[in-house]
Amino acid sequence: MLSFASQMHRMLSKYGLVSKQLWEIMQISNILLCNVTDRVSFWFVVTDSSENVTTVPGSEVEAAIRMNRNRINSAFLLSDKTLQFLKITPTLSPPVEPSTPVWLIVFGVVLCLILAGIVFLVVAGIRQRKKKNKESTERENLEEKCEVTITVENGIPCEALDLKAGHINGVFAADNERFTSL
């Protein structure tokens, strides 16, 4: 309890929150505690003279406490939740807000990805269509030139394939070397 009184005295006098003429006379004994309970709760009054007769008006003490709430809290290593002044509701600090809301940034990233995807698909589609058109016009030109009927197998004109000789596929031909002979 003594430490509380000394803290209150220091705060009220040192930080110039009580009217100037009382400042000099203020002593630790001017802070009176009463109704102390087991649960560490009590009432206190601040008197304004050495005779301990008149008390400093409650509103001034309230104003002083309100302004220095965090100093009192840190002095006792308590917080607004664990140290409660009845009738003095703490002024809450607003939550930290960045200059641009976070969600806008995330939204921008997502939108850029989507637009990139759309552009890629559309351009790929256009290119594919151009290639197909070019191929079909080429084949038409080729067919127009040849008088003889051209038979087509799997899109390749039959004449291009030497059906008797066949093609040697390099991948499989190499197998002969990979496997050890019996």
């Binding site: 649960r39 809450l92 969600w103 759309i118 589609g125 038979t151």
Partner: protein, 586 residues
């Protein structure tokens, strides 16, 4: 591809119909379409509480409009999940910074973030409010994603579905494992699986179960038909149908487990908070030392103090804390996801990561269902050649997405969520029942089961067995009729009302029960009736056309099934295979 040269392979024509890359893509798409948000938020709710062509095209359009708005909300929450601490975890301060914002303080921070910061909801459906610019941005992003994935029809959705259909199962498993480790999870699961035999006697239970399974499978949208039409004609559709139905039901059950673990955890935390608040007031009142009363000996202390100082205890006005009561606070739909689950996520350690995972999963679930809806809109337009063939697929899907985006802007108004409830209750329910009923009747009695069985035999190689015959002929139409009539009867019984969020209401934070004004009721009826009315209209139209044709006797009638659906692929089974000879000879 190695092919037996004796069988002539098909050379695809220019711009031919696309095909699925493999069977797995098709199954995943159907599952993704069937498994949607409803599996997550409607089925577990029901467990807790109790234990149709132009028609279906219209339904697909209406559903696409509002379904994507729900995805907009999911996206909004997703991009807000990157903030630390989560924005719905604390109330904002009021003007003079002495306390919290009043609306937020009287309800909860989570409620405030949903109703004020997200929806900016108006007190009733007649007040439209203004367009919410943040929702418009998210709506644009959602439609852009849908466009990206459906840009070339199933060629692109087929690739996207690998992610959107499989990822939710992964996240559900992660939530399952984490949820089971949370305190109070077992209470939640016990609550889920304990049957309440009294409630089974309530017919409402069975009606809810029937409607849930029907809507859950996403039937009668035309989307499943659209997906299936991209299969080769000789496809085992019997196996596919059974697979999709079983996977859908299993998913609902599988999803309930993490949902209920989390709900149990939330109820337990709420119960502990209630106890703690009571304990603090008792300790302050009786000046007892700290930690003299704990949660375990709370009831003993209460009974002791009640006998020794009853007036003091009565004066404290302690709230009675009952775990059952917390578990009973059941909500379904948007409430479950955006209010209850978000609240539970704040309580978990590492809440940012959980929030991000959860909302990505929801987004994937909704997106795969959107694919089905869009296909249900897209494919008939292409098939019926209403749109000329010169328009490219990319352009058509772009136009559809743009038009839907502009119409869906009305859901971003202040009263938007009330309208979404209206669309969900009226456009997404009754028309589907009617269309499905006519589909079944049409196939079973107009097209005749014998012909249908022959078609199925041609496709799958075996005749459908007795189970299918009985269900197609009798059980399905009967059940659909019963569900439809019960649905309509229940709707007529009570006047249509809705729950409005009104901060000025005396009972706030309880919602205010309001009745729909007549013009809104007219719109509800229109939404329900318009898709249904096309079924008899088109049938009538086809009948008249046939009668006109039969007068001209020289015209040879092909075996035409009077198509009541826009995308009926059983119309000309024999004409659907293009057989082109291998060697093109001039």
């Amino acid at each position: 591809m190695s092919k037996d040269l004796s069988v002539p392979p098909e050379i695809p024509k220019e711009d031919s119909r696309p095909k699925w890359d493999n069977k797995f893509q098709y199954i995943l798409s159907c599952i993704g379409f069937a498994v949607g948000l409803g599996n997550l938020w409607r089925f577990p709710y029901l467990c807790q509480i109790h234990g149709g062509g132009v028609g279906s095209w219209m339904v697909s359009v209406l559903v696409s409009l509002y379904y994507n708005t729900v995805l907009t909300w999911v996206m909004w929450y997703f991009i807000n999940s990157f903030q630390e601490p989560l924005p719905w975890s604390a109330c904002p301060l009021n003007e003079n910074r002495t306390g919290f914002n009043e609306e937020c303080y009287r309800s909860t921070a989570v409620n405030y973030f949903w109703y004020r910061k997200t929806l900016n909801i108006t007190p009733n459906v007649t007040e439209s409010g203004t367009l919410q610019w943040w929702l418009i941005l998210c709506l644009a992003a959602c439609w852009a994603i849908v466009y990206l994935c459906t840009i070339r029809g199933i060629e692109t959705t087929g690739k996207a579905i690998y992610v959107t259909a499989i990822f939710p199962y992964l996240v559900l498993t992660i939530f399952l494992i984490h949820g089971l480790t949370l305190p109070g999870a077992t209470d939640g699961l016990a609550y889920l699986f304990t049957p309440n035999l009294n409630t089974l006697k309530n017919p409402r239970v069975w009606l809810d179960a029937a409607t849930q399974i029907f809507f859950s499978l996403s039937l009668a949208f035309g989307g499943l038909i659209a997906f299936s039409s991209y299969n080769s004609p000789k496809n085992d559709c019997e196996k596919d149908a059974v697979t999709v139905a079983i996977v859908n039901s299993m998913t609902s059950l599988y999803a309930s487990i993490p949902v209920f673990s989390v709900l149990g955890f939330k109820a337990t935390t709420g119960y502990w908070d209630c106890l703690d608040r009571n304990i603090i007031s008792i300790i302050n009142e009786f000046d007892l030392p700290e930690e003299s009363i704990m949660r375990e000996n709370y009831t003993a202390w209460i009974s002791f103090l009640n006998s020794s100082h009853p007036e003091k205890i009565a004066g404290l006005k302690l709230k009675s804390c009952d775990l059952q009561e917390f578990l009973d606070q059941s909500v379904s739909g948007t409430g479950l996801v955006f209010i209850i689950f978000t609240q539970a996520i704040i309580l978990m350690p590492g809440s940012r990561a959980w929030a991000i995972l959860f909302f990505i999963m929801l987004f994937c679930l909704g997106l795969s269902s959107m694919f089905g809806n869009i296909e249900g809109v897209f494919t008939p337009l292409l098939e019926l050649r209403i749109i000329s063939k010169t328009i490219r697929k990319e352009l058509l899907s772009g136009i559809i997405c743009l038009i839907c985006f502009i119409i869906a802007l009305c859901f971003t108004l202040g009263s938007g969520s009330y309208w979404i409830d209206i669309f969900d209750s009226y456009a997404g329910t009754v028309p589907l029942l009617v269309i499905a009923f006519f589909e079944v009747i049409g196939v079973a009695y107009v097209y005749k089961i014998k012909r249908f069985s022959k078609d199925v035999k041609w496709m799958t190689g075996r005749k459908p067995n007795l189970y299918w015959q009985i269900t197609w002929r009798f059980i399905s139409p009967l059940l659909l009729l019963i569900v439809f009539l019960a649905f309509v009867a229940l709707q007529i019984q009570k006047p249509s009302s809705y729950a409005a969020w009104n901060p000025k209401y005396e009972g706030f934070p309880m919602k205010e029960e309001k009745v729909y004004p007549p013009w809104v009721l007219a719109i509800c009826v229109l939404l329900a009736v318009l898709p249904c009315v096309f079924v008899p209209l088109v049938a009538l139209f086809n009948l008249i056309k046939q009668m006109c044709r039969s007068k001209d006797t020289s015209f040879i009638q092909p075996e035409v099934f009077s198509c009541q659906e826009a995308n009926c692929n059983f119309c000309h089974p024999k004409e659907s295979i293009p057989i082109v000879s291998v060697c093109k000879k001039k």
